[in-house]
């Protein structure tokens, strides 16, 4: 089980409270986690990564284990503690604007 913490706007959109849990078959990468997340919550498609390019939206960041993983390759393995569910993957809206 992989734990994902979504920002408030996306929790509202997905109609969830607190963290969400997803499962991944195979290597636990950011791309695989987002694939699983979007499969469970189709409304999130296009909100974290671009529909067409699948790139991270510019003002969305990924953190885990106190590390900024935003610029890691989508197919790079996530930290072991995320893969085991000990730590969550945080999807964060960049601090900007009012």
């Amino acid at each position: 089980m992989i734990r994902v913490i979504l920002p408030a706007h996306l929790r509202m959109l997905a109609r969830v409270e607190g963290e969400v849990h997803v499962t991944v078959d195979g290597p636990v990468t950011r791309g695989a986690v987002l694939d699983s997340l979007e499969s469970t919550f189709p409304v999130l498609r296009g909100t974290i990564r671009d529909h067409v390019t699948q790139r991270r939206r510019p003002m969305v960041r990924f953190f885990a284990c106190e590390e900024d993983l935003s610029n890691e390759a989508p197919d790079a393995p996530l930290p072991e503690s995320v893969a085991t569910g000990a730590e969550p993957l945080l999807v964060v809206g960049a601090m900007a604007g009012g």
């Binding site: 959109l13 974290i48 529909h51 003002m59």
Partner: protein
């Protein structure tokens, strides 16, 4: 019993304001989609319970919402807006070519005949259509692929397609407007388009006959007379009597002819409304007085409508999609401001009262007259 439903899009959510035909007592529901920018909410003319809403965020992109019960509940529908083929490039602020990039939906225009068909005007400028209630969207790419496309350039607010007018007398005719490319018309249901900007004169464009490059802010039409169009341009209020083939200025005695919205009375095709704004560098009313101007002669002769509107220390703006009319016998006129007020007039503009005063900045106002 007759009722009115006002659909308000704001910087921080959508609001639904309802009243009976007297339009005195109002109920306010919302915010719907709290915290998100709602550029536009509009209902189907053939099924008033079917609403569409454009929800967006600089962080999380575009979401489309649909309601089947007049805005009591909503469901997200499709948000994939993919340009047809290789998008190509358009003119950028610095004169270079810049790739077309989807940013958001500015305007939604439900079909006049089918509640599941709806058009979306987007930034970077393109026109999309859904025929399955918003689940999937397909670009009418004949517009963006017009030969002038590489010369289209964004205005200060982005390169947005903000106006879509469906001709009730000819299902194949659609008018659209883009800042800052200008107005376009199709006569074959969107396959091919042509600019309809002859007669527009814009400061900063050296060619007085420029085919594109005009910052059209809004176009309005009366459904009984679809060949007559009224336009609020960046500067200038314009009129066309030949479906956009030519335009004449009708700013007349307006104190300033800069502005964003323009509207037409529901029962008097020559009665039109604008909200003059000081200038392109001062986006607030002249002298701090919020005044709607009405012409009963299709332009040129204008009267200030001030009763019930603040006549001192008012420095709000009224954006291009933030004015609408109802179709009751005594035509109601509504507009929203960047200060969060939504004003209503139940007597065609003679007097005004705020429905709400403290919403987030209002981006759009639409009105439904309910049987």
């Amino acid at each position: 019993m007759t009722g009115i439903r006002v659909l308000v899009g704001t910087r921080k959510g959508a609001f639904v304001l309802t009243s009976d035909g007297a339009r005195v007592q109002w109920e306010v529901s919302g915010p719907h989609f709290a915290g998100w920018e709602i550029y536009h909410v509009k209902g189907s003319p053939v099924d008033p319970n079917r609403l569409y809403a454009s929800q967006s965020s600089a962080w999380f992109g575009q979401v489309m919402q649909r309601s089947n019960d007049g805005g009591k509940s909503w469901e997200p529908v499709g948000n994939a807006f993919a340009y047809d083929g290789v998008p190509g490039t358009h003119l950028w602020y610095d004169g270079t070519q810049h790739p077309w990039e989807f940013k958001r939906v500015w305007h939604l225009e439900p079909s006049l005949t089918d509640p599941d068909t709806v058009y979306a005007g987007v930034e970077d400028a393109a026109l999309f259509r859904s025929s399955d209630g918003g689940q999937t969207w397909h670009e009418l790419s004949g517009l963006r692929c017009h030969t002038s496309g590489p010369r289209w350039q964004p205005g200060a607010g982005g390169m947005c397609l903000h106006t879509i007018l469906l001709d009730p007398s000819d299902p194949k005719r659609i008018f659209i407007a883009i800042s800052a490319a200008g107005a376009f018309r199709t006569d074959d249901a969107g396959k091919t388009w042509r600019p309809v900007n002859r007669g527009l004169k814009s400061v900063g464009i050296p060619d007085p006959n420029a085919e594109v490059g005009h910052c059209v802010h809004r176009i309005a039409m009366h459904p009984a007379r679809p060949n007559v169009l009224f336009m609020q341009k960046h500067w200038d209020v314009m009129r066309s009597d030949d479906a956009g083939d030519s335009w004449q200025e009708v700013s007349g005695n307006l104190p300033t002819d800069f502005g964003f919205p323009i509207g037409v009375h529901a029962h008097e095709p020559d009665t039109i409304y604008v909200v003059p704004i000081t200038s392109d560098s001062q986006h607030y009313p002249l002298e701090g007085k919020l005044r709607v101007y009405r012409s009963r002669t299709g332009g040129n002769e204008w009267e200030a409508l001030t009763k019930g509107l603040p006549q001192k220390d008012c420095y709000v703006n009224v954006l291009r999609d933030a004015m609408a009319v109802d179709t009751l016998d005594s035509c109601g006129v509504y507009f929203g401001t960047t200060g969060g007020q939504v004003y209503a007039s139940a007597d065609a503009g003679d007097s005004w009262a705020p429905i709400v005063r403290d919403l987030p900045a209002v981006l759009s106002v639409e009105v439904q007259t309910l049987a």
